[in-house]
């Protein structure tokens, strides 16, 4: 017990700023915003209300689209990087950290300058004139910008582990390089790809700042809805917001478990 004493302050902070608030949020999600009585209405309202259903679907779709495109981009970029010298490789990897830092308001605004309503690129390139940055396609393009650096952070170290000798021995035995990647490298990388996907997916679903800076409250995303319900507006409904947040957390945890669990079964 004496051994645990020095860690007590850390534990206290964790309990008071994470465990207690999360538990109270869970309890609060079962209480009515109007009468403060025990109820399931928060959850039933979410399932009945088309507006909230749409927020779930929208968030899921943008998270899926941006994480799949982000993964493809990451993979392509990693493959190209591998053909460069290790010196340049390391530099690109650290530059990609910078890009990851740029997410949020700065990123949103940079894209508004380029492709917003009076965007510079739009005026210069006529084909882009009808492009709408505030649409789903626009949002996805902006999301992918910060998904790829994050993907590189997690996937690049594993891709570097794919030994050239493995691929070469396949080609010596007469297999094409596509075959080598499909049958040798991909099975090796599968667990890392799966966990990178989970991280990108959760990151895409949890994004608030970029979406909010681009479209304000106009876009119906889960994070934007929750923020609007709990932050100090006159119409704040903290308990309904809690119920949304609980469901949101459940989705993320379930995704994490299902992908990780598959990996665990494979290992056995």
């Amino acid at each position: 017990m004496k051994k645990h004493l020095p860690v007590l302050p850390l534990g206290v902070l964790f309990v008071s700023f994470l465990f207690i608030p999360l538990s109270l949020m869970l309890i609060g999600s079962f209480r009515s915003d109007l009468t403060n009585q025990w109820t399931f209405t928060n959850y039933t309202e979410i399932f009945k209300n088309a507006y909230y259903n749409q927020a779930f679907v929208n968030s899921l779709l943008i998270a899926l689209a941006s994480s799949i495109l982000g993964l493809i981009g990451t993979f392509l970029l990693c493959l190209c990087l591998l053909s460069l010298s290790t010196h340049i490789q390391e530099k690109v990897a650290s530059i990609s950290n910078l890009a990851a830092n740029f997410a949020g308001i700065p990123l949103a605004f940079s894209f508004i300058i380029l492709l917003g309503n009076v965007g510079v690129l739009k005026l210069m390139i006529p084909i882009l004139a009808s492009f709408n940055l505030y649409s789903w396609v626009g949002l996805t393009i902006v999301y992918v910008y910060f998904q790829i650096p994050l993907g590189i952070l997690f996937l690049y170290p594993s891709i570097k582990e794919v030994k050239k000798e493995w691929l070469e021995s396949v080609s010596l035995l007469g297999g094409s390089s596509w075959y080598a990647w499909r049958k040798v490298a991909f099975p090796f990388l599968k667990p890392s790809i799966a966990s990178t996907f989970v991280i990108l997916f959760a990151n895409g679903m949890g994004t608030y700042e970029t979406a909010y800076a681009l479209t304000g409250n106009n876009i119906n995303l889960l994070t934007v809805r929750i923020a609007a319900l709990v932050s100090g507006d006159v119409f704040a409904k903290p308990n309904l917001g809690s119920a949304l947040a609980v469901l949101f957390g459940l989705i993320l945890i379930l995704t994490m478990i299902s992908v990780q669990w598959k990996g665990m079964v494979k290992n056995k």
Binding site: F109, L114, Y145, A245, M256
Partner: protein
């Protein structure tokens, strides 16, 4: 011949793909820099003029300086609590509480399952009607969300230098505890701690979600200022973004230098391990956890 041709096609393909990526990543940055340094820019490849007036205006704006000051204050306070409470605890856990360390390793990915919005909901529900100032709650929230970076960074550094054996060796040789702490623990953990501090500093400096939703308008930090200006004057807010980008560039350069120093520390140890025909277990690389909150 055929092989050569194939190689060239491959090389060209790689060059094209890399060019596309660089365009995608550089155009927004170049656009912002040009926008920040011009009074008017429309319908032409390059802006009509070049000016520093937005930067001048920015430095003369007391609300901007105050916002920088607030972000700075917040970063320093969070960093101090982390250095005072979290770092020593993690060192202690890694040295003496292996079971807690194992649990922590699994919990470290949890913040991905609890995005900022969920944490804010929970904290607002719990503390918004109490007498505890929301400023403290904000520091607590930022403290909690820094855990993955701090834990992975410090643990990684400790594994790289094999801290446990070093400390055991020092105590078997009869060194008194204060001397062990001053002469063995501090110097070896320094690089890792500086790296972690840089990451925390820059991430708190550019924090938006927690700050805005927990205390919002009453405490205008750099990002909140950025968003407010964005709706008023595009050129001015580009100037803020350019300055912010320079700031993260400096932090990134410092990080790069420190990472190289860390690698230099590790190389001799790695060689020794290789000679014993054992491979150093690959820990989580610090780079992996840089800034993705």
């Amino acid at each position: 011949m055929e092989r050569n041709g194939k190689k060239q096609v491959k090389k060209a393909a790689i060059a094209i793909i890399l060019a596309c990526f660089s365009l995608y990543y550089l155009l927004p940055l170049i656009g912002t820099v040009l926008y920040a340094s011009s009074t008017k820019w429309s319908k032409s490849l390059l802006p009509d003029d070049f000016t520093f007036k937005w930067f001048q205006q920015l430095f003369n704006d007391p609300t901007f300086l105050a916002a920088v000051g607030r972000s700075f204050l917040l970063s320093v306070l969070v960093l101090l609590t982390i250095l005072g409470i979290m770092v020593p605890s993690i060192i202690w856990i890694n040295l003496f509480l292996p079971r807690v360390s194992q649990i922590m390793e699994k919990l470290v990915l949890l913040p991905y399952a609890i995005p900022g919005v969920i944490l804010v909901t929970a904290l607002l529900r719990t503390y918004s009607k109490t007498s505890i100032p929301m400023f403290f709650v904000l520091i607590g929230a930022l403290f909690i969300s820094a855990l993955p970076i701090v834990f992975l960074g410090i643990t990684n550094q400790m594994r790289l230098i094999n801290m446990k054996e070093l400390l055991e060796a020092a105590s078997t040789l009869g060194a008194p505890t204060p001397m062990i702490i001053l002469r063995v623990l501090f110097p070896t953990i320094r690089t890792g701690t500086i790296l972690v501090s840089l990451m925390i500093f820059s991430s708190v400096f550019g924090e938006y979600l927690l700050t805005n939703l927990l205390i919002g308008g009453r405490f205008e930090t750099v990002r909140i200022y950025m968003l407010r200006r964005m709706n008023e004057n595009g050129h001015l807010s580009s100037a803020v973004i350019v300055l912010y980008f320079l700031f993260i560039l400096i932090i990134a350069l410092l990080t790069f230098v420190m990472t190289n120093r860390q690698k230099k520390q590790v190389v001799p140890i790695k060689q020794r391990y290789n000679r014993q025909s054992r491979t150093l277990e690959k820990g989580v690389v610090v780079d992996n956890v840089l800034e993705h909150s």
